[in-house]
């Protein structure tokens, strides 16, 4: 049985009177790059903070790496969180950042960290604040990976980076996955880049999970139907329409269906891409398609509402 790197059940977090995350139930399996996607304020960072044990839930619970309660020593040993602004002590040289991190953690692979920084051309004696944005991100990533985590959790890792640094950073993350079997859960709102990187998608909207699943499965279970606008309403009632775009004559319906279902007569069916799919759901916060919770309270496989 495959293990789950993050498992949430009815998880919620309230700041004052506002729920940043509500009734969140999901199970992210190991061995993936799972992308947490959603608009600003959707609850991405909150969910990652809860999983990393940096915040306590107001409702429900969350475990990591097969049932270790978030924030427990066992959980902290296995998970490495890289916060949004890649926090480093700007006045400390890279060498001292390694030293500090080694002393703050039960496990730290000094040799690995030094080799890695050498390959990246990051001088150990240079102050963190004097490194380029890309190098700072790579240093923060190195500190995380040298802890030899089973789960790496970068929060908006590439938002501040230029295209080359972005590519190199993601290459580093994915190489760690290929070489050491690290699972990755990252948050991003750069949809275009996710297509190549993520093979598991979690869409968050207004503090709720809107869509979750393996990318291949999600793409296989959605189609874009194009046909006469006059017939759109008629089909919208019978099909699970996630998002509709209408012109005077022509309509595009993104529907939840399989390739085996024939398109209605006079309509064309096209496969959808990850970006198109994510956008459609994000534009319709009311639409949801979720697998049942891992240790299910309810067992329905999917639920689509419009």
């Amino acid at each position: 049985m495959s293990m789950n790197v993050i498992e949430a059940d009815g998880l919620g977090k309230r700041y004052g009177g506002t729920w940043a995350l509500r009734d969140c139930s999901l199970a992210v399996p190991a061995g993936h790059v799972a992308a947490l996607v959603g608009p600003n304020g959707a609850g991405k960072t909150t969910l990652l903070n809860l999983a990393a044990g940096l915040a306590a839930p107001s409702a429900g619970g969350v475990t990591v790496l097969d049932g270790r309660p978030a924030g427990s020593v066992a959980a902290l040993d296995g998970i490495a969180f890289v916060a949004q602004d890649t926090p480093l002590y700007k006045n400390l040289p890279a060498r001292d950042m390694l030293h500090l991190t080694r002393n703050l953690n039960r496990r730290f692979d000094q040799q690995y960290a030094e080799i890695r920084l050498g390959e990246l051309g990051i001088p150990l004696k240079r102050k963190a604040g004097k490194l380029s944005g890309g190098q700072q991100a790579q240093l923060a990533l190195t500190l995380a990976l040298a802890r030899r985590p089973r789960l790496l959790v970068p929060d908006e890792p590439v938002a501040m980076l230029d295209p080359v640094a972005r590519h190199d950073f993601m290459a580093s993350v994915l190489t760690a996955m290929a070489a050491d079997g690290v699972s990755v859960v990252l948050s991003s709102h750069v949809l275009a880049e996710l297509e190549r990187v993520a093979d598991y998608l979690i869409l968050l909207s207004r503090g709720r999970v809107q869509l979750a699943g393996e990318v291949d499965d999600l793409l296989a279970s959605h189609r874009m139907l194009t046909g006469p606008a006059a017939e759109a309403d008629q089909y919208a009632e019978r099909l699970s329409v996630v998002h509709a775009r209408r012109g005077q004559a022509q309509a595009h319906l993104l529907v939840r269906t399989t390739s085996d279902d024939p398109a209605p007569p006079g309509w064309e069916a096209h496969p959808v891409g990850l970006e198109e799919l994510a956008l459609a759901y994000l534009r319709e916060p009311g639409a949801a398609a979720l697998p049942g919770p891992a240790r299910g309270r309810n067992n329905q496989q999917t639920e689509v509402t419009k």
Binding site: A30, Q111, Y112, E119, D168, L174, A179, S183, A198, D199
Partner: protein, 181 residues
Amino acid sequence: MNIDKGTIREPGAAASGSGDSENGPQPGRKGGSGSPIEFRLDAASGVPTYLQLVHQVEHALRLGYLTLGDQLPKVRDVVAALAINPNTVLKAYKELETKGLTAGRPGQGTFIQATLSQVALPELAGLRKALLGWLAAADAAGLDQDGMVALFTSALQDFLNRRGGSAARRGTAGGGTEGVA
């Protein structure tokens, strides 16, 4: 810790939990994988990433860039060079193996075990020269690129129709393993 899907291994690579620090992530390393080919990605093509990799191997086989016994780039090197999900590379390599074109060798990597090219490189060069001659003639006659492609495609269709089923199958782009030697 044992993670079912967690550890990505080269297809056919021997199971091993050691050598972590030696074999750790190697950022910045480009190419040098010992494979005759390097993959590239066309984000605008709309073709799924794993299929692009499959097509590029088939294309390289047809053109003779890859031949029997050649090694494909290691999964890790492809991931480092293109910043793509390792599972995507594994999916492509699995597809190539299913097609009978490649095989994993324990501890080493993935190797070509069948070829799609029907003619040897010198012959290919001759054919290419003849085609260039034809292209020059078409250009002189005032045909633009789209015109040439249309004419070639149409002529190819005629030719295949006349030759009948077996040849048509062999000539189809991405047509599986029928042409495997």
